[in-house]
Symmetry: C2
Subunit: 437 residues, 2 copies
Amino acid sequence: MENYQKQSAYRVMCSEVNRCVGQRINLQGWVHRIRQLGKIAFLHIRDRSGIIQCVLEGEWAQKSLSLESVVAVKGEVVAAEKSPGGFEVIVQSLEVLNQSESPLPFEVNKDRLNVNLDTMLDHRVLSLRNQQEQVTFKVQSVLAGAFRDYLTGQGFMQIFTPKIVAAGAEGGANVFSIEYFEQKAYLAQSPQFYKQMMVGAGYERVFEIAPVYRAEEHNTSRHLNEYTSLDLEMGFIASEEELMNLEEDMLRYMLQAVRVNCREELKIIKVEVPEIGSIPRLTVAEAQQILQEQYGKSSPKGDLDPEGERLICHYFEEKENSAFVFLTRYPREIRPMYAMPAADNAEETASFDLLFKGLEITTGGQRIHNHKQLIESIKGRGMNPESFSNYTDVFKYGMPPHGGLAIGLERLTSKLLDQTNVRLSSAFPRDRHRLTP
Amino acid sequence: MENYQKQSAYRVMCSEVNRCVGQRINLQGWVHRIRQLGKIAFLHIRDRSGIIQCVLEGEWAQKSLSLESVVAVKGEVVAAEKSPGGFEVIVQSLEVLNQSESPLPFEVNKDRLNVNLDTMLDHRVLSLRNQQEQVTFKVQSVLAGAFRDYLTGQGFMQIFTPKIVAAGAEGGANVFSIEYFEQKAYLAQSPQFYKQMMVGAGYERVFEIAPVYRAEEHNTSRHLNEYTSLDLEMGFIASEEELMNLEEDMLRYMLQAVRVNCREELKIIKVEVPEIGSIPRLTVAEAQQILQEQYGKSSPKGDLDPEGERLICHYFEEKENSAFVFLTRYPREIRPMYAMPAADNAEETASFDLLFKGLEITTGGQRIHNHKQLIESIKGRGMNPESFSNYTDVFKYGMPPHGGLAIGLERLTSKLLDQTNVRLSSAFPRDRHRLTP
C-alpha cells in the first residue's frame, strides 16, 4: 500500500511516455497484451490515454500475468524504433494491483471485437475496454459538452426538471408507470412541458441533458426505451426557421468539437466527421414527391417511413453532399397538440424533423403560446384540457412566442460513427428485453 | 407577425440598453410593473437579462396593460438620471404579444415573494419569475457547468447510465418500482454501480449529472424524492484523501464560477459566497467527542444526527471560519457493502461525508476493488452475492483501486443561498406528497 501510494503521486499516462525519454517513470493500467520471447517478454499496458510497450527482462519476464490484470510498473523510457509508438519502457519492477481471472469470456485486445451484440452487451465492461468501443463514449462525452458550451454561449442556461410526472406529456400512450407512494405516476417521455414552463418562467433560453423514457414495444436497431435527450427551448422566436438556423450552427460546432478533441479516436475507428454546409430544408410534401419521382416510392400520409427517410438522405447526400436534411411542415394530425399551426396553412405545423444519414435525430418546432388556442388544440384532439391544467394554466400569465427541439444523443453518436445499431452508443442499453447489466 | 419578425432580428436585451443611448431599439419581455402618472406612464419591462424603465406618452400611456403580459416595444434610449439604471426608453410603439390574465394569483414583482411555500410551488412558473427566485436556478446552472468544466480539465469524461435498473444499488430499501413490460424494475438510487463499472471499463475518470430517486418517507426541509446528483468516480487512487483533495479544489472552482458569473444575481439576494481554505478533516469519533465536550451532546453510534451536523459546522465556522467540514472513517456497519475498509482498522471505512453549513452534501470514499473481498463483504451483510452478479462479475477482470463521491446539487445550491428548504432549489420538486406541477 505504501509502495502504491508513492507510485500514484508520480503516475505518467501512456500517451505522455514519449516526453520522458531517459527518465524513470511509473505507469498504471491494464495488461493489454503480453508476448514471451525466450528471456524477455513484451508487455503492452493500456490506460485511459492509450497503450505503451514495456519490456520485461530477467525475473520479470518469467512472471505470470493474466490479460486485463491491473498493474503498476516502474521503468525507464527508451527510444525504440521498432516499438509501436517509437518508445518503450524497460521495466525495473512490476506490481499486480488486481489479478484478472483467466480465460476472459472473449478477447478484448482485438482491433475489432469478434462477438455478437448480445455477448457484447452481456459483458459490457469487458467489451467497453476494446479500443474501438471506447471511442464511442469519448465522442459522446464531447458531443454533450459541446452542446452545453454552444448553448451557454448563446445565453441558454441548464435546467433540471423532474422525470417522475403525474401524466404523460403527449397524452398517455407508451409511458412507464411507477408506484409513487399512494399515487400513480409516470416516467417522463420528454421534458417538453417543463422546458416550455421554464421559458415562461422568464429564463427564455433553457437546455436540459437528461434521460427520457419511451415504453414502446418496438425492438429495432434504432429504438431504446431509455435514452439521453439533448433538449432546448427558447422564447421570443419569430418562427421555426430560427430554430433550424440555431441547430445547424450548433451541430457544426458540435462536430467540430469532435474533430478537434477526438482526433486520435477517429483514427482508430477510421470515421470521417461530415462537414455541415447549408442543410437542405424541404417540406414533407416535397420530400414525398422526390421519393415518388426518383424512386417510385409512395409514403404514408403526411410523413415518411423509415425507408423513405433513408432514401431522401441518400438523395441529398448524392445531390448536395449533405448528410443532414430538414423536413418541415408536418401535418397537424401527426404532431402533438402544442405544435404551432403554420402561419399560412392551418393544416400544417411550424415544425420540423432533422434526418442524419437516413435516421431522424431531431424533432422540433414552434409551440402554441396563446392560452385559448392551446385549449382549443387539446379539445380538437378529443382530449380533456382539465387533465393538462398544470401545464396550460401557465399560458394564462404571459407566455412568450417560443419553440425548441430535442436531439437523441445515442442516435446522433451512432450515426456519426456509422454504427449499425443505436445500442452500441448506449453504455448500458435498455430495450424491450434488456434490463441488465 | 411580419412586424414581429422584423423586431425579433434586432432585439436588444434590457441589460444592453445602456450601450444604446440615442438609438432606436426593440425590446421584448414581460410587463414587470406599470405606473400611470397623468398623461405619461412608466412601464418596467423585464427580460432574462434584467429590467428597464420605458416611458409611455400620448396614446400609449392610455393603453391598458396587464402585469406579466408579454410585449414588444420600439423606442429611443435616453439618459435619465432619475431612472433606476440611469437610462430609459421613450416608447414609439408597443405590441402585446400575449396578454396575461388579471389579477395574478399573487404579486410577482415584489422584492421577495409574500406567499407560503405551497402556494409558491403550486404556481411555480409565476413564483419563478420573481427576481429572487430566478437567482437560484442561474446559480444552479453555473454550479453544474463548473462541475463539468473542472472535471473535464482533470481528464474526466461525462457518462450517461441507466436510471431504470433491475435492482436497487444498496440492497433494496427505499426504491420506486416500475412496470417494465413483463418485468419488475426499479428507479436507480444512484449511479454507483454503473460509474464504478465505467471506471473498470477503462475510462478511469468519469462523471455523471443526472437524476436519482429515493423512495424515502421523510418529508423534511432537506429531503427530495427526486434530485440531481453530481457524481464522479476515479480509478488508480491511493486513498480517500485524494478524493477529498479533489473535492476541495473542485468546490473552490465551482464557487469561484458562481462569484464570477453571478455577480449581479448575488447582489439581488445579498448572499456572500464563502471562501474555501483548507477544509477541516476529522473522524466521526473526533466529531462526536467535540460535540460531547463543547455542547454536551451525545450522538448515535458511529454517526452524527442532523443536530450534531449543524453543531459541528457551527463549531468549525467559529473556530476556523470554514463553512465546510469533512467527516471521515464512518464505521462499516453504516456504510454500503462496497465501502473499502480502512487500512489500519477493519471496522472503519475509507469513506467520508462533506458537511456544508450544517447539512451533508456529499458522501464519498474508496471502494473495494478485489472480487473476493467484495463477495465477502456482501455476504457479511447477510445478502446474496448472486443477486449482485451483474455488478460483481466486473471485479473478476481487473478492477483498479478506485473511489468517488456524489454531491446533491439542490442541497449545495440551497445551502449556498442560505435557503431554509431544499425544495426552493428544485424547479419542480418531488416530495412525499407533491407530484405536480
